[in-house]
Symmetry: C2
Subunit: 294 residues, 2 copies
DNA sequence: CGATCATGATACAAAAAAGGTATGGAGATA
DNA sequence: TATCTCCATACCTTTTTTGTATCATGATCG
């Protein structure tokens, strides 16, 4: 079988037009080189060189093979570099899922920094409802996800990457829109719009917990599958809601965001499968850590 | 150094995800395969596989290298085929020079047939003044030339590929344009337009010889470097000429071609350097011979 | 025109590399 | 816990490659 060494030998002989000189360049004695060239010709079933008394020159077939061989050698070198780059996480691809709220907060900063530092890595970012994120990381669909902190999960690692307060969002016309001081108690009996527990358990849990701490049971009048809808429904005056404050950035003008006392906080985490060996993931984790402790 | 065998081994393992199975496919026992894979990883400095208890799977770097390796193996096979095709003359390139007169006669038929039979060979056809043709074949600029038969030349081989009569060309207004019978003697004292001896010695030789045989010395009033010009000058009524009769195909309407008695004949030959090993040339020669003796 | 020089090819022994057999070790499975 | 399935390692055998010495051939030069 033809091998790379033979291609190298061949290219060197082709370039020097001289077996002896080529052997020297290859740190080799002349006879084995002669023999390898003969073997190559035999394997191809094609004469590659014309033997002159003062050296050798390429046949037409040899000329063609020389061009191809050079390309192959360059291709091999490139393949090695590619593999090494991917191994270092400097190139390759990285699939990241995130929940919609994170898009207003941690996702832009982190991904922008990553793309800047590792431009050769092709990022695939996808927004997914929170309840599916973890499953799809476990399944291997995503290398990582950015989501609200779940409890500990076996086989999954987590890294805190940000915290956010929940804020009260009310329609412009609502009394609480203009109230001087807002107390937790004021939410008692108010019609709440919230995420169902199945969709974003951590977020809904934080809302419920807040109400219970304040001494009342939340009156949830509407649950929306799609995160984006909550603020829209508030705008339509169907109720009020507690949402991460960064959602304000993408909200219409006819709703008001108000701070609430002892506002519950939600933690954003980067999660990944502990056995995921994608080196680009390692670079992302490093970067996330570096952003925490600059 | 990485070699083709290792790439083959690697690809097979990558495709089976199983060292043992791959070894079987490769007609090899398992340990050497394990070893070659390890060596490859060591040479690259990159882990290509993750070892599971039930087999192996590619790392991100391995995935990249797998794609590249497959490409390289395919490229090598293609390179071998290319060389073989060129060696058989089925592909490659062929540079042919020809003199202008041949363009009306033997060149189209021969090249058309060749292109049809060997479509992968890229033909480079170039018209050159006859005097330069042989030099440029000897120099190696052309693999072959189509020209008027020169004397024997050392290092050059020739093959007759066609013969053509010379015809008299006169302006429409010339007495000989309408004469019933034309005799050689009628050309005596006529102003002749001809190629200089340095440009196309065989052609000029044939003209001079014809006149001398007829018992007079030709009166050449104009010599043109460019073959194409002769008929134009005849059309301009500057003189008359003896040219290969196929030139009629590319002549204006205001000249007349007349047969002459015992018309001199010129031989077209295909010439090439005897040490030219371009296999496509061998195919061209074969084809030219086949067209002579169908 | 013959001696000499340079070039690539061949012969055979030495070295290196790859392959085969036997066995170890780690994780899954029952 | 015992066993089974993998891949890795150890060690020897076989094959391949290399190096040294020598040959054959065509060019060069006195």
């Amino acid at each position: 079988m033809i091998d790379i060494r033979q291609l190298n030998y061949f290219v060197t002989v082709a370039e020097t037009q001289h077996v002896g000189k080529a052997a020297e360049l290859l740190h080799l004695s002349q006879p084995p080189l002669s023999r390898q060239i003969s073997l190559l010709e035999q394997e191809l079933g094609v004469a590659l060189f014309i033997r002159h008394p003062k050296g050798v020159s390429l046949t037409a077939a040899g000329e063609q093979f020389y061009q191809d061989a050079k390309g192959l050698l360059a291709g091999l070198a490139q393949a090695c570099r590619n593999a090494q780059h991917v191994a270092e996480g400097k190139s390759g691809s990285l699939a990241i899922g995130f929940m919609m709220h994170a898009a207003y907060n941690v996702v832009p900063g982190l991904t922008k920094a990553f793309m800047q530092q590792y431009p050769q890595v092709s990022l695939r970012l996808q927004e997914v409802i929170p309840a599916d994120l973890l499953k799809r990381v476990q399944k291997g669909d995503f290398d990582a996800a950015i989501m609200l902190k779940p409890g500990p999960v076996t086989g999954i690692e987590q890294l805190n990457i940000g915290q956010e307060k929940l804020a009260l969002v009310v329609p412009l016309t609502h009394p609480l829109a203009t109230a001087k001081n807002i107390r937790a108690k004021d939410l008692d009996q108010q019609p709440l719009i919230a995420t169902p527990k199945e969709v974003a358990p951590e977020l809904r849990g934080a809302v419920d917990e807040y109400c219970i701490q304040a001494g009342f049971t939340p009156r949830v009048v509407l649950e929306t599958q799609l995160q984006q809808s909550i603020v829209s429904f508030v705008a339509e005056e169907l109720g009020i809601a507690l949402v991460p404050e960064a959602v304000k950035k993408a909200s219409p003008a006819n709703v008001v965001f108000r701070d609430i006392p002892k506002a519950p906080r939600v933690d954003y985490v980067l999660v990944w499968r502990s056995d995921n060996s994608n080196p680009a993931l390692a670079r992302l984790i490093e970067l996330a850590q570096a952003r925490l402790n600059p």
